[in-house]
Symmetry: C2
Subunit: 280 residues, 2 copies
């Protein structure tokens, strides 16, 4: 009973991480966010019922698809219930009265530090220091109040932990976006059929010339648009390929339904990961 | 003159990083390895002639394609001259006489630390400490000789810096492989035509239903096998998609040549990234 009232959304990482901002975008400010250590534990929390939804990153414009999460989508079998994208912005965050000219150390995850190289080049008195997590570095700074120190993380992390942003958007590349999925245990009922839908599937094909061409024909011959196709070699089965495919449409559309059942005939493995209406 | 004798191979990261092991696999032990801070500076070193070759990671079985390096391949335009894969193995490395039971701290890049969660769970007296680089943590430990401390990095890093491996293969997932490209400024002459060749291309298509299907037809109708296909939405041009495609064959094969020129007719952008013989 309490579960329905206190809806919990599982994410990987500390509160204030980018997955946290994506979760807020999906479910608003009322839901409780359950912070998990690993992606695997996010899927476990959803499966066990500790969380009624989960939010995971699935691809990034600089770093590509998160194959680990595709693996978990296939193994645990939750349904994708939503999709959104966030621009990855990094901010220099302090506690107390530290002035910008006094900052000597900046704590963050090395991937974030590496995305702010221009900032460190221009401000070479500031030394980057590796920390296990972006939002975690803000949380640590709030507790330890280290002298002359700042953290680099999202604006959401600054707000959540009560830090002050000294410099905004210090990342080198403004084209750094991450795409997130909202996951639920069961497929939600498809309500508003007029708004655009996307459907994600994973399937594998025997590695024969023209196999993918035939698979694509299921969609092309029905004038259905694909928004993603990606092959991934299967390590343990060198003659088989796994594919991720996103298409515009919901399986309740008869054209989509027949395209997918046509595709399924020619696959070794086939799984619908979910249908969802993207959140802009 | 000296350049030809002292062939330098540019990599991103410290000597002993995984790119270093891939470079040694490609060019042996005689070549000088030029350590660069960023992927961008690796491509710049190759372009300026500071390096005569470069080695970059292009995809990983858990983390997906390295889009940043695809961007650099397109912008700088070197040629792919080789391909190899390495299994990512992590090792606990010490200096001096520290016994395993005495280790309290393990330094490494957070991505590596995160890939050894099982090890930290079983040995919970050992605290993971974030460092900017895996091989860099071995180098640091050699210099500072911190008490009760170990680094987590490749066996190559242990060997290079004279560290001792206390525990081998402490990574959770044995299916963690990275694929690397060897790059040169010009396409090398295709010598041994009997050994299998691969060709990598990047192209973009207008986002119309069936566009990819027609592109695939260029290969399927000639019985050519693809080993990779991946779409990537272009942020600044929302109606255009960039594709990465690998196929079996060299452009000197007449079937490949006509398939590629056929494909080029229907693309908005088209670039051959290189032809190469994979190193097992």
């Amino acid at each position: 009973m309490t579960k329905r009232i206190n809806m919990a959304v599982a994410i990987q990482g500390e509160l204030g991480a980018f997955s946290y901002s994506a979760a807020r975008k999906f479910v608003g400010n009322s839901a409780r966010i359950l912070s998990c250590e690993t992606f695997k534990s996010v899927f476990e929390a959803l499966e066990s019922g500790d969380a009624s939804a989960a939010v995971i990153p699935i691809e990034n414009t600089l770093h590509g698809s998160v194959h680990e999460n595709y693996d978990h989508l296939i193994d645990y079998g939750p349904r994708i219930a939503g999709e959104t994208s966030l621009r990855i912005c990094h901010n220099l965050i302090i506690f107390g009265q530290t002035k910008f000219s006094e900052v000597r150390y900046a704590y963050s995850h090395p991937v974030a530090l590496n995305q702010c190289r221009e900032f460190f080049r221009k401000n070479d008195r500031i030394q980057p220091i590796s920390f296990y997590d972006t939002a975690g570095s803000v949380k640590m700074l709030r507790e330890k109040r280290l002298d002359n120190s700042a953290a680099i993380a999202s604006a959401a992390a600054a707000e959540l932990y009560g830090g002050r942003i000294l410099r905004r958007n210090i990342e080198d590349n403004r084209q750094n976006f991450t795409r997130f999925f909202l996951l639920t245990k069961q497929q939600r009922v498809l309500k508003d059929k007029r708004r655009p839908w996307k459907t994600s599937v994973a399937f594998s094909l025997a590695n024969a010339p023209g196999a993918l061409f035939k698979a694509m024909a299921c969609f092309a011959l029905r004038d259905l648009s694909l928004t993603k196709i990606e092959s991934r070699p299967l390590r343990d089965r060198p003659w088989e390929y796994l594919f991720y495919l996103d298409l515009l449409g919901s399986p309740e559309d008869p054209k989509v339904e027949s395209a997918l059942s046509n595709l399924q005939e020619m696959t070794l493995f086939f799984k619908i990961l979910g249908s969802y209406q993207p959140t802009p």
